[in-house]
Symmetry: C2
């Protein structure tokens, strides 16, 4: 029931939640971002039971965020690689890591480091058009098609 409702919602947040599926999926994407591709490596990173991990990976392949590519012929073995769609989801995880760092971990316990420069990175969301930081409290959603959704009603006021 949940799937149906959210997949039909005109709100891109609701749709994203539906597409990505579950919390575990975000941890899979997190590890994919670190370069993990093999089933056993995902399992080590996430600690999920084999059948559950298998199901979540398959769902991410079906949703087009991961693709399954062979890395060995005998016996046949496959790895899971981010697609463009999957890679484009990573800013969501980076924003989440920033929030967790600020509110849930002791100061200095965690940093995101740029591998190439070796420097700590402090993610902030700006408007690509103006370069100004985005003020989420000033945003409203505008939808091009009418719907039952409250967000849509809001936009049509």
């Amino acid at each position: 029931m949940r799937r149906t409702r959210l997949a039909d919602a005109p709100c891109p947040i609701a749709r994203s939640l539906d597409e990505v599926g579950e919390w575990w999926s975000l941890l899979i994407l997190r590890d994919a971002m670190r370069g993990v591709t093999r089933f056993d490596e995902f399992q080590r990173g996430i600690g999920l039971a084999t059948n559950m991990l298998s199901r979540r990976l398959q769902a991410l392949v079906e949703a087009g965020l991961l693709e399954r590519l062979p890395y060995q012929d005998r016996p046949p073995r496959h790895g899971y690689h981010l697609t463009d769609k999957g890679r484009d989801f990573l800013p969501v995880l980076v924003a989440m890591a920033g929030w967790g760092r600020r509110w849930l971990l002791p100061d200095g316990a965690f940093e995101l480091i740029d591998r190439e420069t070796g420097r700590a990175v402090d993610p902030v969301l700006v408007d690509r058009n103006t370069g100004e930081p985005i003020r989420p409290d000033r945003l409203r959603a505008a939808m091009a098609f009418p719907s039952q959704d409250a967000t849509a009603k809001d936009a049509m006021e």
Copy 2:
């Protein structure tokens, strides 16, 4: 079991997932971002059963993302307002809305509009220190304390 494991993880993404709780909580935060404060308004926007919505709101209050404030004496009525911690989570939702707009909705079906300027906003994650767009594939996580977690192992290499 899930709660314990994620809450103990040194990874700020895992901790954030644990703290925020469920997909539904993100829709509650989305509506709070639009200025929704009253129980019946949340219910209209999200379409969740009364007892489930009530539980999710309470969990967000306990996690410190929302606070419950009286808006009427007789009969006593309370509204739910974002705290600083809750407001600071909104970039995660904005990043998610951006992804959903790009990958899940028809072109032009959805825009985020800045209420003050009336212009469409295109959220992009940059490094506060350099102003450069963040390349998630170039990031690594650095943790100040050792752990079993694969992300932590990665950082200590």
